[in-house]
Symmetry: D2
Amino acid sequence: MSSWGNSVTISVFGESHGAGIGVVIDGLPAGEALDEEAILLQMARRAPGKDKAATPRLEKDFPEILSGVLNHTTTGAPLCAVIRNTNTRSQDYGNLLTCPRPGHADYTGFLRYHGFNDIRGGGHFSGRLTAPLVFAGAVCRQILARKGIILAAHIASVGGIADTPFDGVTIPDALLQRLSGTTFGLIDQNKEPEMRALIEECRLSRDSIGGTVECAIKGLPAGLGSPMFGGVENIISSVIFGIPAVKGIEFGSGFAGSALRGSENNDEFYYDGDIVRTRTNHHGGILGGISSGMPVIFRVAFKPTPSISRPQKTVDLSSHSDTTLEINGRHDPCIVVRAVPVVEAAAALAVMNLLKEGNS
Amino acid sequence: MSSWGNSVTISVFGESHGAGIGVVIDGLPAGEALDEEAILLQMARRAPGKDKAATPRLEKDFPEILSGVLNHTTTGAPLCAVIRNTNTRSQDYGNLLTCPRPGHADYTGFLRYHGFNDIRGGGHFSGRLTAPLVFAGAVCRQILARKGIILAAHIASVGGIADTPFDGVTIPDALLQRLSGTTFGLIDQNKEPEMRALIEECRLSRDSIGGTVECAIKGLPAGLGSPMFGGVENIISSVIFGIPAVKGIEFGSGFAGSALRGSENNDEFYYDGDIVRTRTNHHGGILGGISSGMPVIFRVAFKPTPSISRPQKTVDLSSHSDTTLEINGRHDPCIVVRAVPVVEAAAALAVMNLLKEGNS
Amino acid sequence: MSSWGNSVTISVFGESHGAGIGVVIDGLPAGEALDEEAILLQMARRAPGKDKAATPRLEKDFPEILSGVLNHTTTGAPLCAVIRNTNTRSQDYGNLLTCPRPGHADYTGFLRYHGFNDIRGGGHFSGRLTAPLVFAGAVCRQILARKGIILAAHIASVGGIADTPFDGVTIPDALLQRLSGTTFGLIDQNKEPEMRALIEECRLSRDSIGGTVECAIKGLPAGLGSPMFGGVENIISSVIFGIPAVKGIEFGSGFAGSALRGSENNDEFYYDGDIVRTRTNHHGGILGGISSGMPVIFRVAFKPTPSISRPQKTVDLSSHSDTTLEINGRHDPCIVVRAVPVVEAAAALAVMNLLKEGNS
Amino acid sequence: MSSWGNSVTISVFGESHGAGIGVVIDGLPAGEALDEEAILLQMARRAPGKDKAATPRLEKDFPEILSGVLNHTTTGAPLCAVIRNTNTRSQDYGNLLTCPRPGHADYTGFLRYHGFNDIRGGGHFSGRLTAPLVFAGAVCRQILARKGIILAAHIASVGGIADTPFDGVTIPDALLQRLSGTTFGLIDQNKEPEMRALIEECRLSRDSIGGTVECAIKGLPAGLGSPMFGGVENIISSVIFGIPAVKGIEFGSGFAGSALRGSENNDEFYYDGDIVRTRTNHHGGILGGISSGMPVIFRVAFKPTPSISRPQKTVDLSSHSDTTLEINGRHDPCIVVRAVPVVEAAAALAVMNLLKEGNS
């Protein structure tokens, strides 16, 4: 199902080469002002070809809002936003899948939909479907910011090259603001040339490279989330795995923490004035599924873009034989760069749900 | 919320020191025979103190089935199973939380429930609540086995000591059967002494150690799961993060795959007779959220048991001051050993849902 | 599915002749005191054979609360309550359905569960399953009363004999309190002899009689519920149809209102001090799915008890032939009397959900 | 919430005077051919001003399908359809509610959304929002027809004038086909002049009139639906109450049945060849929440259109005083005529969910 959320839900629709893509957001509070420029900025961060551009051409990509907004303010009714596809649909398109691309959903989608799914450009599985997600997240983060909750992510690694991780205890607002406005988000900006060089090398060798994204949520009130299946980790992971190419998620010390001892991984409490805090943040701001008031920190693993232009072995479903496939077209050699705002958007949606459900 | 699932749902209840714990399973198919011995075996694998016992005392722990089963066969009505707590409840228990234990849900639970939650033994956050989960999983895995789906997990690592991982392409049924019947599940059994020594060292030093669990699901039909938020990864992760102490999950090559190139991580398709398979399984049996027919492989990170008997700094919520806490009592120095059947149970529940929803 | 609710959920389990029946309530606020006597009273109103008894034997029927309550106060964790069946299960019971009873779920349950459902006493379809519903409602109505919301129902009709309906504008608290504590709830108590005579006549003629129940909810804040599918009517009806034998529901002027003109059915607004009210209440306290602040009024149609001891024609599924069936045993000739507290309980559950979801 | 459904979900969006309205349908099976002419016909039946027209101008109203359809066939991805509003939105519209219309959601919506909802033309509460519902139902009924399930509704009454009801046992396909293609659907077509006269009289007297709609679903396989809250009645009623102006629903003999005796209301089973049927159908095709194989029959009560042009008393929210309101504009004096295809559409959506969930 392409819908998600309990108290604030999104229903994402569209196929890469259909008439349009979009999202319906239901359950938004009424009376929230929407800053369209700020939404544009988030969508531009995700848009292809925007990374190096001096002046991103923001205008043409802005989704049309069909409902739920009046006088630049939410009405409380479902908000539907549509983004037109410029590749218009031809009515008699062949839609024949013969050779599934390795690492893509071509083969599994073929089985799932008995061959009727729109395979052009990946159809409903396309990374393009993250654009409505970023739109929805951009709406939510404006509402969250008014409640003192800010969030941002950075490229935690590209291949073997790692950025400095978030300090889980002290995260300056300025850092989060910088990250949430850039197209190549790094904490240690000195890493950019090295990462870019690796990406370029992969591109030139007709290959791709994976990476990780780390996200921080600051200002989330303590006491949100529920034990067992309603925990902050459950909610965040259930939306994060909706992003194509995600293959892993970890909170706080995560997998590295599983190699530690309790005496190393436990975070001691102390009083910072009247507020209970922890001196370290291996728990990633979540204990027993419930927010502790410390920053929520999580990392997401993205596999390398499966679309590479090298010849690859695959099967020909029409002749029931093995064959070799060469994928044409330009593809991102490293999806991680554009995935940063998508991870933030998913986090914003998760937090909107947690907030609305409260702790009563 | 302590319930989970769409087509087959579980609703878990109970607190560690209340009258009892249990689970309601709704949506099971009618007419499925239940082998109580096989359920007992799974519950014994998770039970404390069962690991080294030559003859596990299985009898006393078997849950009472209140409904949904007649003549050892499911009726299709909700199945409720109850496990009594032997620590009976005293009606005038103080229930005062003064010093939250580091790494536990004491503090966040206090905030979430405004001080009214049952804190004895962790209350509803206790690891004891995984017993009903194992029960539910044990019911499901019997049904799955009749459809040719078998699953098992092993201790992938304890601290820095790693077991051999699953070969994602060729997993003998015999291996899965061995693992799903043991209490210290390893692929490379030679690693057991070393792991046990590390755990014992942690115990003696009043400390604990984390680890990882790897799970394989074999025989899952291709074409199950849905794009975006209904994917196999979303469904599995949303239930796995319901297990206490889980801080991360990864599928297939996971985080390691994010350091690879596309040419390394893509799995090429080929025809194995009439069946499309991949020669490697970095995708962990899931592409675009949908099962590929290859084994589903995932790994789960467990933090070290937060209950350690060393003195730890914390706060005293009654006096609003910092203090030092010493936790008494016997605790598992490594929760990972007993977590193996819990991960399997969660996987079985996820698969039951995927199967029932089908791909029509 | 036998679970219901979004923010406060119930999961009902049990079969009439199994080991026990019960309910898990998840999402209750923490810190709510529970008055067990008041719960007992509600359950006694529904219990068979309690109607005429001078001193209802309340004690033996009280459900065992396994979780979610400590020191007579909700902990916020799921509350599980179990009621033992005194008809203990025999393990080798035949469970063969040969002749489905007309008007019962015997035949449809047989198809739904492929013959594996527990047919003894109606199994999971039994009216006995309303006992856990009344328990859950009794918990909720205590919480609601603290927020100024009180609700009660009465026997609106038995066969052709009608009680006086609620005055939708002015409903004294004392009336609701009287009704919610009685076993033969009428607004016009003079109707009792006539109704009892009709019921007795039906009993003596080995027949049964249907009736209607009318429920009023007073004090529900204005502005709750959502347009379209989240409306107050949708929520109440989705739980009310979970009561066996219900075949209809109407709000406000309902079916009678459909014969009126707009000028007759519209309720004019006026200021009663600072509060907006309506002079009539044909809208039953709900406009556009959202509460108006006026009392919510609805009526429920119950079919006559299908269990009658007259010979009835049916089929013999084993011989594939028509046959005649005579049902033995004592059955309520009019289920409506005991259904009154069940309708109230369902209403209380609906209101708990509406309140928790709020209007933010 | 404006979304509905479990296995096949709809998410309805839009406001009467916003940019557009529409629906996202998720969970449709892939590979289903869509006949756009047949969809147009259903939408024309609901459209205003279509009733008397010899040649309905169908073309301009057809929604744009943005996704989920390729080569006139469902792809299995979410289907989004958008209908443009011709009243374009003015960005600086006042949106001030001063005098709520009696019987409308003006006042309750104002409270629910704190005054930020779009009040023009009723906003999200407008009857115009039933157009996307009819679209979704028109898609579903094509799929259902291929499985032998046909459904149709008729005007069961207008004010006190009643049509002949469905014979619950024998419903000719031809009748259902006739009804589902007409704009003033009656079983006894001789009633049309009388009903039209009454409606016209109400219009001339600046008033309106209510009515009821009866719907039949033929060919629904026996054994669908679940006990308690997943029953056929629960599912149908939860979507039916999503239609504006609905105040009641009854199945089978419904409220009239509540005045009967068991011996009158029970439907005896018999073998019709190999098929178990009932000789009467007071149960409306549903026993214990599960379909019996007999036609499903239900009736829906619609209140009279609240928009009447007579002066009505109401409040002025700005001055906190009582006042008189005169509503201008042309409104349907009887909404029931155009509601017939909306009821059918809701029924089709309910049946799609029941079918997809099956009885396994």
